[in-house]
Symmetry: C3
């Protein structure tokens, strides 16, 4: 853990000139940023080998009124939406939750700054604590990395 | 909020003559219907600018026995499945949960009436209250709309 | 219920010679295996008509350090990730949760044995109990099957 899953309207995969963005770059920035989150004892929160960001464009979507208000306001009627949901293991502190969520939000606000300023787009970031009743992990990635530094 | 996420077997993107449906139209109908939900004080429940429906066709899937029973029953072995999951903010009443869920179910039963009558399809609609530990929203869509009417 | 949703890095849809796998076959194996799970009274846990597996390749992703450690270790830098999340109805026993989760894990370990031995891949399986506040099911698949045997 954690997994950060991004669900978004497929119009964000359009070329930048047509209102899209580089979602692959966003995934990388978010993954890099998650690896920098540190807890109250200044330890890396998320194990490097267990940090993953996956992004899924919706094939179909509907947002708000469908575009009329955006057209009327000169923002265009082609609304976009990004939902970022990070699921982390149980038992972290509220401070770690806050730092993690703010890290995601900060990356998104920077990545989408032009979009937020020029088109109609909604970005929601939420962090969930998993409450799974079964959990199994098998990985040949974890062994590639030393455990997070203790100091 | 809310987000309505639809996960479905990709065979529903086939042409209607081949058992598919117009998922984009379903998204729009669901979004429109969600905007009509009203609470016990007759106020609009979901803010217009914060209501989103996103639909994702599975690339691969397996359903039930894989088709034998449907073939035997003359319904065809190409089963379909639609899972609708709405996540709404915490703190709504049970009555609002019920009205919201029934609104989604009503739209689905109408949209898929022919499918339910002629092919093997399962449709499950569930409403979850989010229990996120961090929540951040940035939007240039919300400002396009007045707050929901109070009266 | 249940629904097993698989989110995975899209590189697993590559041809086997290029590190991919047959995700459709994995879905089928998982569905078949879920239908074999039995409770403490030796009854089939999941109704045949209500058991579904849906798999979604991410269009974009970022995993761990992006590949440097894998390259250095001779595992390659093209990391893969599979997240399997099964949501089942409320009220099952802890033993049923365990059996269900272990069934999924067993199928995955067999399916991905070569991948785990030869490339950098992470596989996480989790089971959630749904805590939905609204639940509606409409299906023309359920009637195709007799209720699960009681004996």
């Amino acid at each position: 853990m954690p997994h950060l899953v991004i669900l978004y309207s497929g119009n964000l995969d359009h070329p930048p000139a047509d209102g899209g963005t580089d979602m692959r770059a966003l995934c990388r920035r978010l993954c890099d940023a998650l690896l920098t989150v540190r807890d109250e004892q200044d330890r890396q929160v998320f194990p490097t080998g267990g940090t993953r960001v996956l992004a899924f464009p919706a094939a179909h979507w509907a947002i708000a009124d469908g575009g009329a208000a955006g057209e009327a306001a000169g923002r265009g009627g082609d609304y976009a939406f990004v939902y970022l949901n990070l699921r982390m293991a149980k038992g972290r502190s509220a401070e770690v939750h806050r730092r993690t969520g703010e890290t995601i939000e900060t990356v998104c606000k920077a990545h989408f700054a032009t979009h937020l300023a020029t088109r109609a787009i909604g970005i929601t970031a939420q962090v969930d604590e998993g409450h799974e009743v079964f959990d199994a992990k098998n990985s040949s990635i974890h062994p590639l990395f030393a455990p997070p530094p203790k100091a």
